[in-house]
């Protein structure tokens, strides 16, 4: 009896987990299925689960509904440039905060933490006016330079650098290594996990960003993919869900493919940044 009960409990446990999994994964499968259906199929009742003939033409239609090549190029340039600039700014700052004692160390570091607390949703109006004064609104820079200092990155990297033993640095100095060499040959290689986490975080948040490009851009020439896809709803009318979902697949697929191959590392990186 006890044995049977345990067996039943196991089956129930499995079943609930399967349902939970479906709740989280199904919307993505549904998106893919819809993106390959005809308009008639999307309006069927009961719904069409699998399209009779995959409508690849939906993707062509979605991608020709706007300048998607430009959107895609902008997304790539913005994301990559942000990551490169953040590295160049973050590494020396984190090193100085971690390894030097200087007047104002604590003060400046608390300003970094303060910056971490103040969201772009509060500062976007003045930043917009400022960048308008600089005359760079119709370039990609308004979507790049405001993110040059990654406060979270500086914080995480500083913690990491502090754990690297001072003896290692001292012995490198005895070998006549200068600071640049110490950072390049010791600090960076030993902080790869932290740097990977920060980079991944930056990539995901800027590739997916919607708010900032929405409030900073006035012309299609500088808009990223997220804005382009969201705009499909206006240009395609409200009932063309198969076209909208096709566009959506284009936005999501690169990230889903990367995730399918490296989900363990990605989850670890995100969770690590959450508990530190």
């Amino acid at each position: 009896m006890a044995f049977q009960l345990r067996y039943l409990w196991r089956a129930l446990d499995f079943l609930i987990k399967a349902v939970v999994l479906i709740v989280f994964v199904f919307p993505f499968l549904w998106m893919i299925s819809t993106s390959l259906q005809t308009l008639e199929e999307t309006l069927n009742f009961p719904p069409t689960w699998i399209p009779a003939v995959p409508q690849w033409i939906n993707f062509v239609e979605a991608m020709t509904a706007g300048p998607f090549l430009t959107y895609f190029k902008n997304s790539v340039i913005i994301t990559v440039t942000i990551i490169v600039i953040q590295w160049a700014v973050m590494v020396p700052a984190a090193y100085a905060f971690a390894k030097y004692s200087f007047a104002g160390n604590k003060l400046f570091f608390s300003l970094v933490l303060l910056a971490f607390m103040i969201p772009g949703q509060v500062t976007f109006i003045p930043v917009y006016l400022m960048l308008a004064d600089w005359g760079i609104l119709n370039t990609l820079w308004p979507q790049i330079i405001p993110f040059m200092s990654n406060a979270f990155g500086i914080f995480l990297l500083r913690q990491f650098f502090m754990q690297i033993p001072q003896e290692l640095i001292e012995s490198a100095k005895l070998d006549n290594a200068n600071e640049f060499k110490i950072i390049w040959k010791i600090m960076i290689p030993m902080s790869i996990p932290a740097l990977a986490t920060i980079t991944l975080f930056s990539f995901v948040s800027h590739w997916n960003d919607y708010f900032w490009p929405l409030v900073m851009t006035d012309s299609t020439a500088v808009r990223p993919l997220t804005i382009g896809i969201a705009k499909l709803r206006e240009t395609e009318g409200i009932s063309n869900w198969h076209i909208i979902m096709a566009g959506n697949v284009v936005l999501v697929l690169p990230i889903l493919v990367v995730y399918a191959f490296a989900s363990k590392q990605i989850v670890k990186a995100f969770v690590y940044s959450g508990i530190k």
Binding site: K17, V20, L21, F24, V25, P27, W30, M31, T42, L43, F45, V89, M90, P92, Y95, A96, Y100, F102, G104, N105, F108, V112, A115, I118, P119, Q121, V122, T123, I125, P126, Y128, P146, M148, S149, A151, E179, V204, W207, N208, D209, Y210, F211, V215, T226, I229, A230, R233, W241, I244, N248, L251, V252, I255, L256, I266, V267, F270, V271, G274, I275
Partner: protein, 292 residues
């Protein structure tokens, strides 16, 4: 230690300079600029015509009904999303707290929405929640429940937006709680088992205090994050129907071109709310949290 050379003295400042420049120019200066803007009736076309109006924008905020609607909506959203997500996260984490292939699969599955753009998620859920052809109403009808108008009725729109937000973030927070659970040394549980402590008592007396730093972290991050909610609202409802889902940031966004002074004053209010929340949490909870 010999005497420091001039270069050694200024070196740290040189190294933090780019980072501090970014923070000053794009965070700290804009905060002061925002406060200044909030005291003006700003003329976007001709800056010289902007006039100083003192606290009049703030007076306007507190007498306008639509501001209170936006504030109430934001509070309802925040409390709902934070409480439900935290509760679900703890339940899911406790339940997945065993190694195994299937548990790993469920973990990867529930985390997926977190790395996907909110634009995509909003669009997929709009399609699922479509009143006539959407899948959710099909499911409701097939189990004999009445269909809902979801985003298109002012009585259910906020709930629908909240469902999407919870779905988006619960996986991430579950995994943080899970990581916290797994960092508890098993010897503690063995000691509790020796004392014949009940499962509930073990959870309440041992597990909960030990994971409280992470729960505290989640509470802060989520509350502040929820107060900034914008993307889902902008894409899914446009603040409607009938302002039912207009949140604070969406409210600021609406006025950002037509009335910059007023939008800035509302921005200052948002900033103060976020600051107070952070401060109160640190004060109240620092006494009750077990730090390792």
């Amino acid at each position: 230690m010999g005497k420091k050379t001039f270069w050694e003295i200024i070196r740290p400042y040189v190294m933090i300079f780019p980072a501090m420049l970014g923070i000053f120019v794009f965070v700290i200066y804009p905060v002061f600029y925002l406060i200044r803007l909030s005291l003006y009736k700003y003329n976007l076309l001709n800056k010289a015509k902007s006039t100083f109006v003192g606290l009049s924008n703030y007076k306007q905020i507190f007498t306008r009904e639509d501001f209170y609607v936006a504030l109430t909506n934001t509070i309802v959203y925040t409390v709902g999303v934070v409480l439900i997500t935290m509760l679900l996260s703890v339940i899911i984490a406790l339940w997945l707290n065993k190694k195994g292939f299937f548990n790993g699969l469920v973990q990867a599955g529930i985390f997926t929405p977190h790395i996907i753009s909110i634009v995509s998620i909003a669009l997929v859920w709009m399609w699922l929640m479509e009143p006539s052809y959407g899948l959710l109403n099909f499911v409701l009808k097939s189990v004999g429940l009445p269909p809902s108008k979801w985003l298109q009725s002012s009585s259910t729109a906020m709930m629908s937006v909240m469902i999407v937000s919870i779905w988006h973030s619960v996986g991430y927070y579950s995994l943080i709680v899970l990581a916290a659970l797994q960092s508890i040394p098993p010897s503690i549980y063995e000691a509790a088992a020796l004392d014949n402590a009940s499962k509930f008592k073990t959870f309440y007396k041992i597990t909960l205090p030990l994971i409280s730093p992470q729960l505290f972290f989640i509470l802060i991050i989520m509350t502040i994050g929820s107060f900034k909610v914008f993307d889902t609202v902008r894409i899914m409802t446009g603040g409607g129907p009938n302002n039912a889902t207009t949140t604070l940031v969406y409210y600021i966004y609406k006025f950002r071109t037509t009335n910059i002074g007023y939008a800035s004053a509302t921005g200052v209010v948002l900033m103060i709310i976020v600051a107070i929340l952070t401060f109160v949490y640190f004060k109240v909870l620092s006494k009750r949290i077990h730090y390792q």
